[in-house]
Structures are given as structure tokens and as C-alpha cells.
């Protein structure tokens, strides 16, 4: 049977190729995702295990809770290093400082694309992962050493000036040496710098403290044993880990970060591609079966069992599924390399190691590819078994309807109901976020399938409607195209559905993002009264005195900063939220609170124990004005607050807002996120004045309110473009589906086309009619996709309305998507149209 299947595949090379391509690309996206993220995890594994190689035990400050935002915790007392050295079994112990900031070369901040710029003090020790390739480690204040990759990129040599920007201020330094870290000349996109111990303490506000103590064990003492001893000897605030554990934890954190965002996003995009592929396979096999109707009838007449007919088709699907999946794995490696290149092009620097295909990747790829192919071929195969032997003697290529086809509307309704259930369960149900997202995804898939099943009932009138303008433009070609696309509604529906899914997801993303953007802009406009926003580049914080310094600029009326840190609230069930610290007396001049309870007069009276809550936080804490609640910082500091007011602001000041004095109780170090400025003078002059006042803080970016909004919207757009790029794959796959259908339609209509040519139709008219048919199909898919995408986005945004995301339809973009649908149709038609136009009249007339 496999041999028959193989023959059939070879006999229809183009169709087999296009069908296989659909599944191949889906498998490639899924396996490529794994290869891509595995590679990142592995790269970090290697780096961290190298970084902690000589270190047996490492001690850091205990964080009272771990947050996704990597909240900064302070250091350990410097004296603890001596305590550690005193513990039996310790061979060597060194304390050092580490911190994050930014550097500038020639007044320009060195961009990292979101990765951190890490400083750590140099310790002359065998433990250290740094090794100097040029010059010497920093020894005097104002000396700094840079990692090799940075020196190369920025053209730094011994003696080059480098400006260091830390939360405490800006410092001028000179390069004393160049090093490699863990034998790497760079660590992903991060910048690494060595400082002296004293500079580190000064820059990172760690006077009398160390960030970390690294320990080597004496001979014969195992790291585990030493860690146990140290834990016993040191106070609670010291978090003791073996080097191995610390390396594992660090790379686990990376894997978790990948696992919670990049992996699911890429995998679901791969899933969309596979789903699109499934429709194409289903369609291709349906068409194959219809075409080979007589062949099956003949087989049956010759005594073949239904089972054997069934086998000959599923066998073909199996061969195709295996081939496409295996090739898909290979292409997946290329896909991973492509994503690497894309990231690089978008300036997202990630460490890469060699691309590896883990057994898990192979298994998932093969299972998904083969099972989807087989599943999609089952219904057509079943229909083939229903071809009666007598069909061998009949004209035409219509298939008997599937046995239960009259139940299709009911089945579709049931599938739709299940889909709605899944969506509802995902949005309102209980369970972990992953479970709920999964329920929503399954619900969405089922809804797509239901729409696809039902679409054969309305595709004909819709095609008639869409085709109408074409019949005006070009009477014959338009008319033929329209009629042909209405001729086999099930086929047109399945072909269009493939595009519907890809475009539907694109539209969903677009509408959702539009809601996000317009909500942000509206939210910003509503609350921000400032003329200027000063924020730090590279997701850093501003020096703590920025707001104060700007007050001295003559044109400035008010300059008020917002400090932000992550804190934990609540009683038994702790939740993480943001704590905003503002200057109580001036903040209302730059900020217009949307009060639910309270008014601007409560602000100056906040003191050290008054707090304002954003509506949602108030609700989740279950507190009203007058109630008290407590907050804990990552360092473990606790403070109690009384609710003095409640406001609505889901976009900007989420969480808890307190006065600076209260903020300092929880975190003495400044974490200035932005400064809002109102000014009196002319815009251009003011901006220049503000920039002048901050000339020595290269990370400070002075923006007008409008520029700030543009920047935020721009960063959403950047993410959007990445998503669009990946979703394009699904659209391309559905394009192949249209090609596939058209090639077959043209083939089936050879005789008609010959007749048309004989009575005077030109090649151009034939080409055009195929192209129009293609466009009608693709526009149906596009319109359906846009509708479904808008509905999904509406449902989801309504559900998450509380988070401040509004429902907003990007009209102009939808037009663009429709144009894309038309372009897909035109492109898909190129090959089939050419084939149709080349049909030889004589051959066509003799063709049966």
C-alpha cells in the first residue's frame, strides 16, 4: 500500500510538494522555537558554570521575596567577610561589589538593547572568572576595566575615557585594562566592567557593604559541607549557596524567563502555522480524492475493500507526513538561525551557542507533523471509501457527501459551543494562568474550526458579493472567476479558512495592540499635566537628584520625580505590586489624579504612613479609605500604611503611591524612574535648557510629553513588528494552500478553458479569471479573518477592561490587511494562471 501511496505522491508532484510544504513550515516553526530557546539556555548554562567555576560557596543578601522584575536587594555588611574567613574549612573568602548602571563613551550612552550593564569590583583571586588580556585591573579610584567585546565595539584602549552613570551620579573614569569573562569576550548583550572595590561602594550606594562573598573550601571540605557550616555561622540575611547551585539558579532564572514569554509566544505562532497547514492538507486530500474518484471506484469494482481504499489514502498521508516532518526539523534549524538574525537586526543581543536538536524537539516535531497530517486526511479518506463501484462508469468528479454531512451544521454548532466554553473558561475560570491560556487557545482553535465548517454554507453568496465589482471591471474574466469560486463552496471555504486563521490572529494582535496603545495614550493624556518627561535610556533609573537639579532651570515651574520599586503586600496571600514614591507637595502640579475617593488635598498630608491606592490594588487588597495595610520591600523592610485615597490609573501609576518620606522608609536608595516637568517658556528653548542642565547625565532623555508617548507607542510597535514577522509564516502557508487549490481547479477545468480559448478568449483573459478567482478566495479569507480577529480582540479586551486596555479598531490597518489578502491572492495565482493560459486548445478539447 505504501508503494501505491508513493506512486500517487510522485504522480502529483506539485500538489504533494505544496501540501507537504504547509506541514513542513509548521513543524519547522515549532522545532525551530525549541532549537532557538534551547540554544539560549545552553549558552547561559555554559557562561554561568564557567563564571562560578572556582567558587565553592557564594553568599548574597537574602531577598524577602523573588519577583519577576529582579528587584534589587542591598548588600551584606563588609565585616561579614572576616566572619566568613573565621569559619573552619574556608580557604579563601573575598567580598565584592556588583551593580547596574550605564556607561557613555564620547558623551553617547552605549546601548545594550535591554541587557544590563554590569559592574563588579576586581578581586585578585583564582576564583575570578576574569582574565586580563591587555593592561591591568583597576587599582586606583577612577580606573575601570572593560570586557574585550566592549573594547572592540567602542574602540576603547588603555587610557580611554569612559563615563559611568550610576544611581548615585555620574563619574569620569579611564580604562586601565581589558579582560575576558569566563573566556568570553562578551556575555550576551550585557556590558561587563571591572571597578575598584571603593569605587563600587561609592557608585552603588553600598558604603560599608559588599554585594557578594565568594568562598573556596579548604582541601578535603566539600562545598556542601562548607555551605552548611556557613549557614550555621552567619545571620539570616546571608543567603548561602554552593557555586554549583548558584550557577544552576542563575541559568534556571534565564530558562524561566524564556519559558514564560518567548517559548509560549513562538510555540503558539508555530501552532497557528500547523493549524493553517491542517486545513491545507485536508483540502488537498479532499481534492485528490475527488479527482481519483473513478480510480477508487475501479478498485472497488475490482473487489478492493473499503479498508484498502482507506489505507491507500492514509498511507499517502503517512508518507507525506513523515517526509514533511523530517524536512521540517531540518528547516527548523534554519528557522532558529533566522530568529537569531532577526533578533540581531532588531538589536536584541542574546548569547548564542551552537544550534542543537534535543530528542524532545525531534519527538514533538514528528508527532505534531505526522499526526496532524494523518488527522487531516482521515475525513477525505473516509469519503473515498464511500465512492460506489458504479462511479467508475459515471462522468464528473463530485464526491459522495460524507455519511454524516447533513449533521455538519449541528456538529459545527457543537464545536462552536465547545470553543465558547473554552474561551469563557479561560477568561473567567479558575486554575493557573497557563491552564487558562491553554483553555482560551483551545477555545479559539475550536471557534476557527467551527467558522471554517460553517463557511461552506455562506461562501457562495459572499463570493458572489465580493466578485461583483470584478464582474464590472472585466466582464468575462470577472464573471467566470466569480462563478468558479462559487462552484465548489466547500473547497473555496477550506482554502479561504486557511488564510482566515493566519489573518485572524494577525488582526487579533493588531486590534489588541491598538487598544493597548490608545489606552496608554488616553491614560497618559488624562493624568499627565507635565510639558516634559525625563526618563533614562536603556530601562535604567535616573540619578536621584535629577528632579531637584531641574528646579534650578529658570523656565521650570515644577519638577517632580516618580520613584518606583517592587514590593509585596497582603496578609496570608502575598501579592507583588509596585510602590510609587512621589514628592507630595508638588506632585499634583504635574499629575491629575482621577480620584474615586479623596482629592488633591490629601497629597501634601500623606506623611510617612499615608498611601493612595490604584483602584485595582485597593480591590485586590480589599481595603477602603481609612483601612490599614502593610508592605514589605525585597530587602525585608516592612512598613504599615493607611489608605487616604483611591484613584483610577490602570496605565501609569499602578499599585500604591506614597510620599517620598514614606518611600525612603522602605528603600533608602533612590530608584528614580522618571521626572515630570512643567515649564513656562517656548518649547524648543526649554528643552534645550533642560538638556543643558542634565548634560552630565548622558542616560537622561528629555522628551516633550508627545515625544514620550511616541517612544512608548514605538516600543509597542517594535514588539508588534516582531509578531507580525512571525505570523507572516502562517499567511505564506495559506498562500500555498490557495496555489494548491487553484492548480487543481485549473486542471479540472482544462476542457472548459480550451473551449473558452477556442471561441476567442485570450490568454490574458484566462489568466485574469484565475487571478480573480484567487483574489475572491483570499478576500473571503481576509474578511473572515478580520471579523473573527476583531471579535476575539473584543471579547478579550472587554474581559481585561479593568487593566485599562480598551477596545479600539485600527481602521487603516484593517484596510492594509485586506490589501495584504488581495496581494496574497494575486501572488498565489501567478503559477496556476500561467498554467491555465498555457493550456493547448487541441489537447484540452480531447481531454476528458
Amino acid at each position: 500500500m505504501i508503494r501505491i501511496a508513493w506512486r500517487s505522491l510522485l504522480a502529483h508532484k506539485l500538489r504533494s510538494f505544496l501540501t507537504a510544504l504547509a506541514i513542513l513550515l509548521g513543524v519547522a516553526m515549532i522545532s525551530g522555537t525549541y532549537v532557538f530557546t534551547d540554544q539560549i539556555s545552553r549558552a547561559f548554562d555554559e557562561i554561568y558554570s564557567e563564571a562560578f567555576k572556582g567558587t565553592d560557596v557564594t553568599i548574597t543578601r537574602t531577598s524577602s521575596f523573588s519577583s519577576d522584575y529582579g528587584a534589587a536587594v542591598g548588600g551584606l555588611p563588609e565585616s561579614m567577610v572576616e566572619d566568613v574567613r573565621a569559619v573552619d574549612g574556608v580557604k579563601e573568602a573575598n567580598g565584592y561589589i556588583s551593580g547596574m548602571g550605564a556607561i557613555a563613551v564620547d558623551g553617547e550612552v552605549v546601548e545594550t538593547g535591554g541587557s544590563p550593564t554590569l559592574f563588579f569590583s576586581y578581586v585578585p583571586s583564582a576564583m575570578s572568572a576574569t582574565s586580563y588580556v591587555e593592561g591591568d585591573p583597576p587599582t586606583k579610584p577612577g580606573e575601570i576595566a572593560v570586557v574585550k567585546g566592549l573594547a572592540e565595539d567602542e574602540g576603547l584602549g588603555i587610557g580611554s575615557p569612559v563615563t559611568v552613570i550610576a544611581d548615585t551620579g555620574t563619574y569620569e573614569t579611564r580604562v586601565s585594562g581589558v579582560f575576558t569573562f569566563a573566556s568570553e569576550s562578551s556575555l550576551g548583550g550585557s556590558l561587563l566592567l571591572n571597578t575598584t572595590f571603593e569605587d563600587g561602594q561609592l557608585w552603588f550606594d553600598l558604603d560599608g557593604q559588599v554585594s557578594e562573598i565568594d568562598v573556596t573550601a579548604a582541601d578535603g571540605v566539600s562545598p556542601d559541607a562548607l555551605a552548611t557550616r556557613l549557614r550555621a555561622a552567619l545571620p539570616e540575611e546571608a543567603d548561602v549557596k554552593t557555586g554549583e547551585q548558584a550557577a544552576a539558579d542563575a541559568s534556571q532564572q534565564i530558562s524561566d524567563a524564556l519559558g514564560t514569554f518567548i517559548n509560549p509566544v513562538l510555540l503558539s505562532l508555530g501552532g497557528v502555522a500547523v493549524l493553517v497547514g491542517a486545513f491545507i492538507i485536508f483540502n488537498a486530500f479532499s481534492m485528490t480524492v475527488a479527482q481519483r474518484r473513478r480510480e477508487f471506484a475501479l478498485l472497488r469494482a475490482l473487489g478492493a475493500l473499503r479498508r484498502q481504499v482507506m489505507w491507500s489514502i492514509t498511507g499517502e498521508a503517512l508518507v507525506m507526513g513523515v517526509l514533511a516532518s523530517v524536512l521540517g526539523l531540518v528547516v527548523g534549524m534554519g528557522f532558529a538561525a533566522g530568529v537569531n538574525a532577526l533578533m540581531k537586526a532588531l538589536n536584541v543581543d542574546i548569547p548564542t551557542s551552537s544550534l542543537v536538536m534535543q530528542p524532545r524537539t525531534v519527538i514533538v516535531g514528528l508527532v505534531v507533523g505526522i499526526s496532524i497530517t494523518l488527522l487531516s486526511a482521515v475525513v477525505p479518506a473516509l469519503r473515498a471509501t464511500r465512492v460506489p463501484p458504479v462511479a467508475a462508469l459515471q462522468e464528473g468528479a463530485t464526491l459522495p457527501a460524507a455519511r454524516y454531512s447533513r449533521f455538519t451544521p449541528y456538529v459545527a454548532a457543537a464545536v462552536a459551543a465547545l470553543g465558547v466554553l473554552g474561551m469563557v473558561n479561560g477568561m473567567y475560570g479558575v486554575g493557573s494562568t497557563t491552564q487558562r491560556l491553554l483553555a482560551m487557545a483551545v477555545g479559539a482553535v475550536l471557534l476557527f474550526v467551527a467558522v471554517a465548517m460553517l463557511s461552506k454554507y455562506f461562501v457562495a453568496p459572499v463570493a458572489g458579493f465580493i466578485g461583483w465589482p470584478l464582474t464590472r471591471v472585466a466582464k468575462t474574466s470577472g464573471r467566470l472567476a466569480r462563478d468558479n469560486s462559487m462552484r465548489n463552496p466547500a473547497r473555496t471555504a477550506a482554502t479561504a479558512s486557511a488564510l482566515m486563521i493566519g489573518l485572524g490572529v494577525v488582526v487579533f494582535v493588531a486590534v489588541f495592540a491598538q487598544g493597548l496603545k490608545s489606552s496608554f495614550v488616553d491614560g497618559f493624556d488624562q493624568v499627565v499635566r507635565a510639558d516634559y518627561v525625563v526618563a533614562a535610556t536603556n530601562y535604567l533609573t535616573l540619578p536621584g537628584d535629577t528632579a531637584r537639579r531641574l528646579e534650578y532651570v529658570p523656565a521650570v515651574d515644577t519638577s517632580a520625580g516618580v520613584n518606583i520599586q517592587v514590593v509585596q503586600t497582603g496578609g496570608a496571600k502575598k501579592t507583588t505590586t509596585t510602590l510609587n514614591g512621589v514628592e507630595p507637595s508638588t506632585f499634583s502640579k504635574v499629575w491629575s489624579f482621577d480620584w474615586i475617593e479623596g482629592d488633591d488635598t490629601v497629597l501634601p498630608k500623606l506623611g510617612t504612613d499615608g498611601a493612595l491606592l490604584e483602584e485595582q490594588t485597593a480591590r485586590s487588597l480589599g481595603v477602603k479609605v481609612g483601612d490599614s495595610f502593610s508592605v514589605q520591600s525585597p530587602e525585608g523592610e516592612k512598613a504599615g500604611f493607611e489608605v487616604r485615597g483611591i484613584y483610577r490609573d490602570p496605565m501609569m501609576l499602578v499599585g500604591i503611591t506614597v510620599g517620598d518620606a514614606a518611600y525612603d522608609r522602605l528603600s533608602p536608595r533612590s530608584q528614580l524612574y522618571m521626572v515630570l516637568v512643567t515649564a513656562t517658556g517656548a518649547q524648543g528653548a526649554d528643552k534645550a535648557a533642560l538638556e543643558g542642565a542634565l548634560a552630565d547625565v548622558p542616560t537622561a532623555d528629555v522628551m516633550t510629553a508627545a515625544e514620550y508617548k511616541d517612544m512608548m507607542v514605538g516600543s509597542i510597535n517594535q514588539l508588534l513588528n516582531l509578531l507580525y514577522g512571525l505570523l507572516a509564516m502562517s499567511v505564506i502557508i495559506s498562500l500555498f494552500g490557495i496555489v494548491n487549490t487553484l492548480v487543481l481547479s485549473v486542471y479540472e477545468r482544462t476542457r472548459e478553458i480550451g473551449l473558452l480559448r477556442a471561441i476567442g478568449a485570450s490568454r490574458r483573459q484566462i489568466r485574469r479569471s484565475v487571478r480573480y478567482e484567487s483574489v475572491i478566495t483570499s478576500v473571503i479569507g481576509g474578511v473572515l479573518g478580520i471579523l473573527v480577529g476583531i471579535v476575539f480582540a473584543y471579547v478579550v479586551t472587554t474581559r481585561f477592561g479593568g487593566m485599562g486596555i480598551k477596545f479600539s479598531v485600527p481602521g487603516a490597518q484593517l484596510v492594509v490587511f485586506l490589501v495584504i489578502a488581495v496581494v496574497v491572492g494575486v501572488l498565489a495565482a501567478i503559477l496556476p494562471a500561467r498554467r491555465a493560459a498555457r493550456i493547448d486548445i487541441l489537447e484540452a478539447i480531447h481531454y476528458e
Binding site: 468575462t476 467566470l480 473551449l755 473558452l756 480559448r757 477556442a758 471561441i759 476567442g760 478568449a761
Partner: protein
């Protein structure tokens, strides 16, 4: 070689004689000279036509007959510009067509030629009326309403105009095809066994239609047929045998035609 073939054509064959057609070859719509058509090359070559000279007279119905494989369809295709001869020239309504480019051939088919095939003459998605008007639509011309009406009357399908081909009988379909072929007032109408798939009664209706279009509208028709009865309505009959025209006769009765056919079949 070619001259020899041509001489062979001229040689009167042994067998039943027919009255030579008395038509005036000076007024010819289609003029073919020295047509040969070979399929394949070398030893395996099939000589479908071995040198045919023929003039199709304006306003007459010419039937092409001959045993299966004698080259009837091949000749018709070449005369209609659907196929290219290996050698020889064809003029349709004064235009030399063997050297025309694809685009010019399309134009020729629009302006000067009508076709009726044995089966599947109509587009299944269009109604009868739309099928009839199809050549005009394709050419982007405004149909002559009066002429279309007259044709519809002639083919007698006024009450079936809104039906799709699948809802029409085979005979009705062929009548629609005749109307479709006539709608552009082609210089010449080619029909390849137009009644081949019909029973004698419906076949007669179609033949009657063809005959009337010649008599009433002065249409020129070239019809390939196997059927002696169909051929008996022709003004002139050409008999092909082995790629050559062996008889060129005027009107013949059915019995006479049978006799010629029989003699040709005996020859092999």
C-alpha cells in the same frame, strides 16, 4: 514527395463515382494549399495529412467524411487555426493564418471563426442565454440584440434561456452551441461531429438548424461527420482517406454516401 502526393489526389480512385461539386471555388472563405501534417519523426512518424488542397465555398455547407483515422479532425483543426500544418498554407477570409501569432489567432477566432464540438460545448456555470452571448462578452462587444433574438427563435429555446447546461438535454445543449457559434456571424463555422452524441431525432433538429443557417443567413459551415444522414444535408462532400482527399462531390443522397464510405473502408 509532395508533388507526388498531390498527383495522387488528382488521380481518380477506383470505385463508385460521384458527381463532382459544381461550386464556384473563386468565392472561397477558406483556402488551403499543400497541407501536410506529420506526428512524430522518423520511422514512427504518422502522416495524418499527406497534401491536401481545398477551398471552402462561401455560404455553403461542406461535409468532411472518411474512415476513422483518415485525418478529418486534423484537417478541420488546421483549417480553423487550432493546429499548425507541417507544411502548406491556409487562408481564412483572406488572412494567411499559418504564420499568425498567438494574439492574432485569438483575434481571428473572435472575428471570423465559430466552433461546435461533439460534446461539452457550454460552460456549466452560465445559463443558456449567457452561453450564447459568451463570444460577444469575451470580445467585449455589445451583442446585436435583434440578431441574438432571431437566433434564439431559430434554435427554438426561448423558454429555456435561464437554464444551466446541466438542466438541458443533449440536443438542447447542442442547439445552444449552434446559436453560440453563430452569434458572432463568423466567416466560417467549424463543427466536429456535432450530432455524434445525439439520437437521430435530436440530431435532426441540430442538422436542420445548421442547414437553415446556411440557407437563411448565408453562413459558411464546415462539418466533420461519420454519419451519412448528417452528410446528406451538405452542399458538398469531401472524402478523406489516409490523409488525402479522395472524393470531392456535390450533394449526395444517403445511399450514395454509404456506398462511397463502404468502398473506402474496403480499401484498407
Amino acid at each position: 514527395m509532395e508533388t507526388m502526393d498531390r498527383e495522387a489526389t488528382q488521380t481518380a480512385p477506383a470505385g463508385p463515382a460521384c458527381e463532382a461539386s459544381d461550386l464556384d471555388a473563386a468565392d472561397a472563405v477558406v483556402v488551403a494549399r499543400g497541407i501536410t501534417r506529420d506526428y512524430g519523426e522518423g520511422d514512427a512518424a504518422v502522416h495524418a495529412l499527406r497534401g491536401v488542397d481545398v477551398d471552402m465555398v462561401r455560404g455553403r455547407l461542406t461535409a468532411i467524411m472518411g474512415p476513422s483515422g483518415s485525418g478529418k479532425s486534423t484537417l478541420m483543426h488546421i483549417l480553423a487555426g487550432l493546429d499548425e500544418p507541417t507544411a502548406g498554407t491556409v487562408e481564412v477570409d483572406g488572412i494567411e493564418i499559418t504564420s499568425l501569432k498567438e494574439r492574432e489567432l485569438t483575434q481571428l477566432r473572435r472575428d471570423k471563426i465559430g466552433f461546435i464540438f461533439q460534446t461539452l460545448n457550454l460552460l456549466p456555470t452560465l445559463t443558456a442565454q449567457e452561453n450564447i452571448e459568451l463570444p460577444m462578452t469575451i470580445a467585449g462587444r455589445k451583442g446585436d440584440g435583434q440578431w441574438v433574438g432571431q437566433l434564439i427563435d431559430t434554435v427554438g429555446l426561448a423558454d429555456r434561456l435561464d437554464h444551466k447546461p446541466a438542466e438541458l438535454s443533449g440536443g438542447q445543449q447542442q442547439r445552444v452551441a449552434v446559436a453560440r457559434a453563430l452569434v458572432g456571424r463568423p466567416a466560417v463555422l467549424f463543427a466536429d461531429e456535432p450530432t455524434g452524441n445525439l439520437d437521430s431525432k435530436t440530431g435532426d433538429q441540430v442538422l436542420d438548424l445548421l442547414r437553415r443557417s446556411v440557407d437563411d443567413f448565408g453562413q459558411t459551415i464546415v462539418m466533420v461527420t461519420h454519419d451519412a444522414h448528417a452528410a446528406s444535408i451538405a452542399d458538398r462532400l469531401l472524402f478523406l482517406h489516409d490523409g488525402r482527399i479522395v472524393y470531392d462531390c456535390g450533394r449526395m443522397a444517403r445511399d450514395e454516401i454509404f456506398e462511397v464510405i463502404k468502398s473506402l473502408e474496403d480499401r484498407r
